[in-house]
Amino acid sequence: MKKITPRVNGQAQSREVPDNRLLIDFLRYDLGLTGTKEGCSVGVCGACTVLLNGQPVSSCLTLAVTADGAEITTIEGLARGDKLDPLQQAFIDYGGFQCGICTPGQIMAAKALLNSNPHPSKEEIQDWMMGNLCRCTGYYKIIESIQAAAEGKVRV
């Protein structure tokens, strides 16, 4: 067991975790933040994407002990009270999700993109989002949603 003290969605957390606890399990089971989903469990599908110190990572491939002292942002950390993040609103307004299971990962990956590149081209969006799979095959709407958020087209 190790004691870890990350900041998760702006809140300091302190927990004892087994050394082999994965970050996704820490978020879902220890903190009850079930917005982050597990898909493939091997780092391919992107459903478990969270931001670790602002950077997108697969929480299914990350040990919780390596997030000690880090800043973690999950889908639950984007809205401010009732006010959604522009990306969340864009996914609603532009039909960026169907079944919804991949959506938290899609939005967190898109958030990381817009943080590092606020005005990406369509090709840059496609290149960046390639690692987030949608089995409903709703990719066009996902790209449109991110473009809309980047262009300030959504009202929150």
Binding site: D19, V42, G43, L61, T62, A109, M130, G131
Partner: protein, 288 residues
């Protein structure tokens, strides 16, 4: 995943002491994108994991000879002005590794130590004559990357050694390099076959030829027969075609859902020829 004890040394010497203490019951972990998957499949079951994230090995430096800290992430390298300017082919090859999420976590030291024969970074580094700097309590040594890989996921690294740096030497004047990744399925996939080629010209003849392949055998490989056949030859389409055909004897691919062994062998020939043609064309040479 099996249970293990995680330790996180604050410096390289402390990490080496941990390697000595725990011996082959320990594994080093950097980005973890390779090792965690092997552990989830129970292919690797270390009793101790030595976390490298606090080691000061992230520096990307050098003018001419590039020194890439073992913990520099693939994303830091593909975005590095130094790498892009001095060895653009390496930045291009790294950009083709999996997805931005994996490149954010994976490191250059991990990419060579993991010794996955199908990854993009090793053949790109092989074609650039890269070397690996290794530390152990016994001292420091450098190993040429083409002497580093010994088998499927195996290297010359001893249990008390860790990679501190990957060194890319200054490239020959006027040389040009290309990385081609054959991806018939999805863009984030492993290559069906991948080729890195570097060429230069001296007195109208080919020189400093390097041809390396990924996904073509049990290790990343250099196709010396192709290199030797082209050295001091004129850069003609006929010479490139005939030399590329020699790669058939250098590769040993396995059949899988990305293609049969025979298909991959044929594609290795095609992509070696294309990579050589493109490297020469990119450097402004006309192919007769």
């Amino acid at each position: 995943m099996n249970s293990f004890t995680y330790v996180e040394p604050a410096g390289v010497d402390e990490a080496l002491a941990a390697l000595v203490q725990y011996g082959d019951e320990a594994k080093l972990i950097a980005g973890g994108t390779g090792l965690i998957n092997l552990m989830k499949q129970q292919l690797v079951q270390p009793s101790y994991l030595i976390g490298m994230r606090r080691l000061p090995l992230t520096t990307i430096a050098g003018n001419g000879e590039l020194r890439l800290g073992a913990l520099a992430t693939l994303r830091a390298l593909e975005n590095s002005d130094l790498v892009r300017r001095q060895v653009p082919m390496l930045a291009q090859a790294i950009h083709l590794v999996a997805t931005v999420r994996i490149r954010t976590q994976a490191t250059i030291g991990g990419a060579v130590s993991h010794a996955d024969p199908a990854q993009d970074t090793p053949p790109a580094l092989l074609a650039l004559d890269a070397r690996v700097k290794i530390r152990s309590p016994r001292g420091e040594r450098e190993v040429a990357l083409d002497q580093f890989f010994t088998g499927y996921y195996e290297t010359v690294l001893q249990p008390d050694e860790l990679v501190t740096e990957v060194i890319v030497p200054a490239q020959p004047a006027g040389s040009s390099a290309v990385y081609l990744k054959f991806l018939p399925q999805t863009h984030d996939d492993y290559a069906t076959v991948a080729v890195a080629a570097r060429v230069a010209m001296a007195g109208g003849k080919l020189s400093n030829v390097r041809v390396a392949l990924g996904a073509a055998g049990s290790t990343p490989i250099r196709a010396r027969a192709v290199e030797d056949a082209l050295t001091n030859q004129a850069p003609t389409l006929k010479n490139l075609r005939e030399a590329a055909a020699l790669v058939e004897g250098a590769v040993d691919p396995t059949s899988d859902f990305r293609g049969s062994a025979g298909y991959k062998r044929e594609m290795a020939v095609v992509f070696v020829r294309r990579a050589l043609e493109q490297a020469l064309t990119a450097a402004g040479h006309k192919l007769a």
